[in-house]
Amino acid sequence: MNFDLTDERQMLQDGLRRYLRETVTADLLASATGSDIGQSEVLWNGLAEMGVIGALFTEDQGGFGGAGFDLALVFEELGRVGAFEPLLEMGVLAGGLLAELGQEGIVEDIIGGTVRVAFAHAEPASRYDLSHVDATATASGDGWTLTGRKSVVIALPFATHVLISARTGGSTGDTSVISLFLLPVDAVSFRDYPLNGGGRAGELDLDGVSVPKAALIGSEGNAWDALERANARAVTAISAEALGLMESIRTLTTEYLQTRQQFGRPIGKFQALQHRMADVLIEIEQARSAVINLAGHLEADRVTRERHVSATKNLIGRVGRLVVEESIQMHGGIGMTEEYALAHLVKRLTMIDHRFGDTDYHLERFIRLSAA
């Protein structure tokens, strides 16, 4: 049993933390969201050059990490500065799936940062159900025709390609017919828009898009297992990001309590706030342990892994809400203002409960998996 970082990970953490502290300013975040692509090219390229994308892949995949604790490390650091570069969507999800389905070539370019693949899976009616795929791919001549809608495809305006899930038969919810198709982004049409918490996403409208045979990734109808594993890794990543956000929010709030004077003393001297802040701290420690639990069980058997997925996402969601609401409350008015540093962090943390299943979704799922 050992909870220390390896030397390599320690180096990565130190370097990444230093780089992000220097690079990710409020201006950078604001102008990224304001831009057409919704991201910062500079930051993306910087991360690629540092090899941060590579840290999300195993050595056989051409990276130098890829374990749960590598994901946790990288995304906690991204969370600390509130960065929203699409490493999760393009690295862990699209990249991870392409790597697992044996697309070495493109994965090399993804790690290099030159190819950016968005992941289009969720649909207007799927809510948080990973197995809900309404979009269809029908064989037509020497290719496929894709039909359906994909919603909130994050970083689509920043992408060079898009990886799309569609059914090649069966009916909605049937996991044995889900296939993946890789397209250049200019092959599809979409409407894009900004997001709470930063960045842009797109609504993808597939009304009979014809794609070549070669667009099919892996074999027909066999994407599900890889999809569920990639989802587990994505939940690890976003939970670690949440943890990083919580740590920065905690620091901001503690400093505020120490310095803000009211009724003639720092408000941190008021016992009611001290005790509530202590409870917040305890819950953040719980969140850290939950992330460790999940990161450490990604390679376990399916039920064990997925129980940890749901346990961790549920706990992250509950603690996230507590941290958001208590930090705003303890800040008072200033905590309500867009321009103060807290605003971006709490919005981003709040939105994490709206991705990959919310608190209740995973509580129910944990119960089902435990009964199984």
Binding site: R127, P194, Q262, G332, G335, R355
Partner: protein, 398 residues
């Protein structure tokens, strides 16, 4: 003991419903129900409609053109207008300044300002809070120095709601540094067009410029704009705060929010069922509904006592805390209900006549905004922490 309205009260409620059916423009109620942005003109339109009926000033005595309603009637009016998604009555002139002028203003001030409030000639805003003061209202730093028949005002106010629409502001200013902080405060009426005043918007978490900073740089204010006596402003301010506390429980808002939450949860698909059929989510809705049923009765008990002449004291602190908890929980559940579509933020979609299609269901984005915006409920008007301290001192005597 009788939980039902009297026949008179039921008749009054019928009158209110009739007015809302006849006179509330659908264009306005749709905007309110849909969480769209209300313009200055929208508010003024609704004020004018109510004024025409003589129902604009619910807490003014008839002699000043008010309704002379008792607490129960005011409650019924609040309940019905909120349920009908009418725009709220902008409180600064009507609920706040009016009563102060009526009690402490001189005849000239009453004659000049009260009719203009009713007729919508003036839009007032509130100059109480200052940066860094938080809930400690008495720590007023903005100064007013007498210079002939003017005061020279310098300093800064903040959290000034809808200040961008206002042409007049009532301010607490420091006219003396002697004695306790409460003792050197005066209550001034200031024309926003006076040279030296600058208004800067503050954008809140939901992206809306709801409040403002107001800067005063050697602003000359005629002495006749002083309300009551110099250095007695704190008394008037406290009087105003008690009036601000009408409808502090927000029962009407909570009921409207709960109805909308149920509607959304009935539309959202959750696997092979609607979200409202999800037992865990249904339980959360039921829990907050049960709390609201009890809180509404607590509110009626205090309203009835007020109608009976008892001034609500620390009880309104209890109502503010519980009412806020309930409304914020409803906001949180509604945000949760909209799922992934809580993420898109298309600000233009909130404006009328712009055809920026919302992303996902039209109710999604307003749900997220309302969650963030209503975090303010437990902060402003005396934070929940301040209210708990009031309760422990006044009721528990701790």
């Amino acid at each position: 003991m009788d939980l039902n309205y009297t026949d008179e009260q039921k008749a009054f409620r019928a009158e209110v419903r009739a007015l809302l059916a006849d006179k509330l423009p659908t264009r306005l109620s749709d905007k309110v129900a849909g969480g769209k942005r209300l313009t200055k003109a929208d508010y003024e339109e609704w004020h004018a409609i109510l004024n025409a009926r003589g129902w604009l000033a619910g807490n003014w005595p008839e002699q000043f053109g008010g309704t002379g309603w008792d607490a129960v009637q005011r409650h019924i009016f609040e309940e019905e207008t909120t349920a009908a998604h009418a725009p709220r009555i902008v409180p600064f002139g009507l609920a706040m300044l009016g009563p102060v002028l009526q009690k402490f203003g001189n005849d000239a001030q009453k004659a000049q300002y009260l009719p203009r409030i009713l007729n919508g000639d003036d839009w007032w805003c509130q100059g109480y809070s200052e940066p860094g003061a938080g809930s400690d209202l008495a720590s007023v730093k903005a100064t007013a120095v007498r210079d002939g028949d003017h005061y020279i005002v310098n300093g800064q106010k903040t959290w000034t709601t809808l200040g961008q629409y206002a042409n007049m502001i009532f301010c607490l200013v420091r006219t003396s540094k002697d004695g306790k902080p409460q003792e050197g405060i005066s209550f001034l009426l200031i024309d926003m067009d006076t040279p030296g005043i600058e208004v800067r918007p503050i954008v809140l978490l939901d992206g809306e410029p709801e409040v403002n900073e107001v800067f005063f740089d050697n602003v000359r204010v005629p002495v006749e704009n002083l309300v009551g006596e110099e250095n007695k402003g704190w008394t008037y301010a406290k009087y105003l705060l008690t009036h601000e506390r009408t409808n502090i429980a927000g029962v009407g808002f909570a009921r409207a929010g709960l109805a909308s939450l149920k509607r959304i949860a009935g539309l959202e698909q959750d696997g092979d069922r609607k979200l409202i059929e999800n037992p865990l989510f249904a339980a959360k809705i039921a829990q907050v509904e049960i709390d609201l049923m009890a809180m509404a009765t607590t509110n009626m008990r205090i309203v009835a006592a007020a109608a009976g002449g008892q001034a609500p004291g620390a009880e309104s602190s209890m109502l503010k805390i519980k009412g806020t908890q309930i409304r914020q929980e409803i906001n949180a559940l509604t945000r949760q209900a909209v799922g992934v579509y809580a993420m898109p933020f298309v600000s233009e979609a909130l404006d009328e006549g712009v055809n920026a299609e919302p992303v996902g269901p039209a109710y999604a984005m307003p749900a997220t905004q309302a969650y963030f915006n209503n975090r303010k409920l437990s902060i402003y008007g005396g934070s929940s922490e301040v209210q708990r301290t009031i309760i422990s001192k006044a009721i528990l005597e701790l």
